[in-house]
């Protein structure tokens, strides 16, 4: 049988910009810092880059604070000569750009693709708090928003919260169980110099924090930051030439088989990750028990529960008991989870923090938070009707 296309692709380089709260640097400035770091990390020069990809692209989802610069801006700033480029907001969640880049490399359209994700949502939100869709609550609305905005459901927190509430109702999941995602993330963030929130967080802090949208409290919501992460994916043939160990892409999961809608999804106790994860496991002989470290999307803590169940680390409805006490997901547990601190503590780098940390762990470069002997990592992105997942190996 022919190998899946993704086996012909490796992550050859990674780079990060300064990451922090209200840096007041331009999205392009941060992107170039991360991109040059990733290119250098791969042992390449700018002239070697012949592909460029990002999510979601400059027209994808509103302001540049949320989207980062589009590919034309980055291409021009680096004077790249490209054989291929793409940016799209419609695809298997945030890692859509990575999957597309892998397809381009495997198909021979490009040899070294630079991928970046840039956010300046911390500076972008100013002092006015976090804004969601139609946040001013006054404008006329059309399209699918006409079914959300008239009801004050502007924020993804409102959408995720109703999944969480339903999960609590059907399976008896508790806030104390949910809290373990945030508490574990914070413990790991203390060991990550790039994380924005590193001070200890206790269960009392969590339980007594203010509600955002029941049952989600402040610490269930990720923290907007300014920053950029960049990656180079290359053909596997170059693996022996790399200055750092190649990280292999073992499998991708991109399926979406339910209704592509937050509110029309069939049962509200699964998400599109169910389909993407099932798809992933059809493309590999590796099993959930082979995974050494899990970087699961935590734009909201509850999304991580959905990924735990989707990927088969526990059964349907069993993520609450799986998280109980937090020992299974600790750095020395059976499934070290969100070892960078995740988006809840390290910062909302929107699906790419997970991939970055997976590569760092597989390279053995994670310092004080390194999971000993990590050879297989999963990086999952997205929530609700959006999901994309990558399985990576040393």
């Amino acid at each position: 049988m022919e190998q899946p296309f993704e086996r012909r692709v490796i992550v050859s380089g990674i780079g990060e910009s300064q990451i922090g709260r209200r840096l007041h640097r331009t999205p392009l400035d941060l992107t170039l810092e991360a991109s040059l770091a990733a290119i250098s990390d791969a042992g390449l020069t700018v002239a070697d880059i012949d592909g460029l990809a990002t999510y979601p692209g400059s027209l994808g989802m509103g302001s540049e604070a949320a989207t980062g610069p589009g590919t034309p801006a980055v291409q021009d700033a680096l004077r790249l000569n490209l054989s291929w480029h793409t940016a799209t907001s419609e695809g298997p969640a945030q890692v859509a750009a990575v999957v597309s880049a892998c397809l381009a490399v495997a198909a021979g359209l490009a040899r070294h693709v630079l991928i970046y994700r840039t956010v300046t949502e911390s500076s972008g939100q100013g002092d006015g708090g976090r804004k969601g869709l139609g946040g001013d609550g006054s404008a006329q609305v059309e399209g699918w928003l006409q079914y959300l905005v008239p009801f004050g459901a502007h924020s993804a927190a409102n959408w995720v919260a109703q999944y969480a509430q339903r999960h609590f109702h059907e399976f008896g999941t508790t806030r104390e169980q949910l809290a373990q995602v945030a508490l574990t993330g914070r413990r790991n963030a203390a060991l990550n110099p790039s994380a924005v929130y590193r001070t200890p967080l206790t269960i009392d802090d969590y339980i007594t924090s203010r509600m955002i949208s029941t049952p989600l409290c402040l610490y269930d919501c990720d923290v907007p930051v300014d920053g950029s992460l960049a990656f180079v994916v290359s053909h596997v043939d170059v693996a022996p030439d790399l200055p750092k160990p190649a990280v292999r892409i073992n499998a991708v999961g991109t399926a979406q088989r339910g209704r592509p809608s937050w509110d029309q999804w069939s049962d509200l106790v699964t998400m599109a990750g169910r389909d993407a994860a099932a798809h992933l496991w059809t493309r590999t002989d590796l099993r959930p028990s082979d995974v050494d470290v899990a970087q699961l999307y935590d734009g909201f803590s509850f999304l991580t529960l959905m990924w735990l169940e989707a990927l088969g680390f526990c059964g349907r409805g069993e993520s609450g008991p799986f998280l109980e006490g937090g020992h299974r997901i600790a750095l020395d547990g059976q499934l070290p989870l969100n070892t960078s601190g995740g988006q809840l503590s390290a910062g909302r780098l929107h699906g790419y923090l997970q991939l970055h940390e997976a590569v760092v762990q597989l390279r053995g470069d994670a310092g004080a938070r390194q999971v000993a002997g990590a050879e297989v990592a999963v990086a999952a992105s997205g929530g609700g009707p959006l999901a994309g997942v990558l399985l990576l190996t040393k």
């Binding site: 708090g129 001013d136 609550g137 059309e142 203010r210 509600m211 949208s213 029941t214 029309q264």
Partner: protein
């Protein structure tokens, strides 16, 4: 009970019967005449059998709370109305709609509670919200 903010929907011709119904306190949604599927969101073609013989029918408006959240933080006009309830209501006929629950005891609200529709003026039409059935005298 303070009235929640109103956002005037941009009524387009393809969904006019829904908004015309709402304007007169009736819930009117499309249903396939060939396979009896209720089509939500409203569309001209049945997603199950691809029939275009889809008709607008009035439904009871009764339903139950499938899930809900109490929003404690909001932007713009909504900021003055927290906490308010956002819910998914499953209509007795099957479709699930996003809405608000008004007039409810927030501490007593539960998934599975029966609700009845209330219509709140929004420009030339009204938006569909719900209230606990017992409170509306419906049981």
């Amino acid at each position: 009970m303070t009235d929640l903010p109103v956002v005037v929907p941009d009524v387009t011709a393809d969904v006019l019967p829904f908004w015309d119904g709402a304007a007169t306190d009736r819930l009117v949604i499309p249903r396939c005449r060939d396979c009896a599927t209720f089509v939500w969101y409203p569309r001209a073609m049945c997603p199950e059998c691809h029939s275009v013989d889809v008709a607008w029918v009035e439904v009871s408006g009764g339903g139950t709370i499938y899930s809900f959240t109490i929003s404690h933080r909001a932007a713009g006009a909504w900021a003055d109305h927290v906490p308010y309830v956002i819910a998914y209501v499953e209509l007795d006929e099957g479709p699930r709609v996003l809405t608000n629950i008004v007039g409810a005891d927030l501490d007593a609200l539960r998934i599975g509670d029966p609700v009845t529709p209330v219509f709140h003026a929004a420009g030339a039409t009204k938006v569909l919200r719900f209230t606990p059935a017992s409170r509306a005298g419906g049981g």
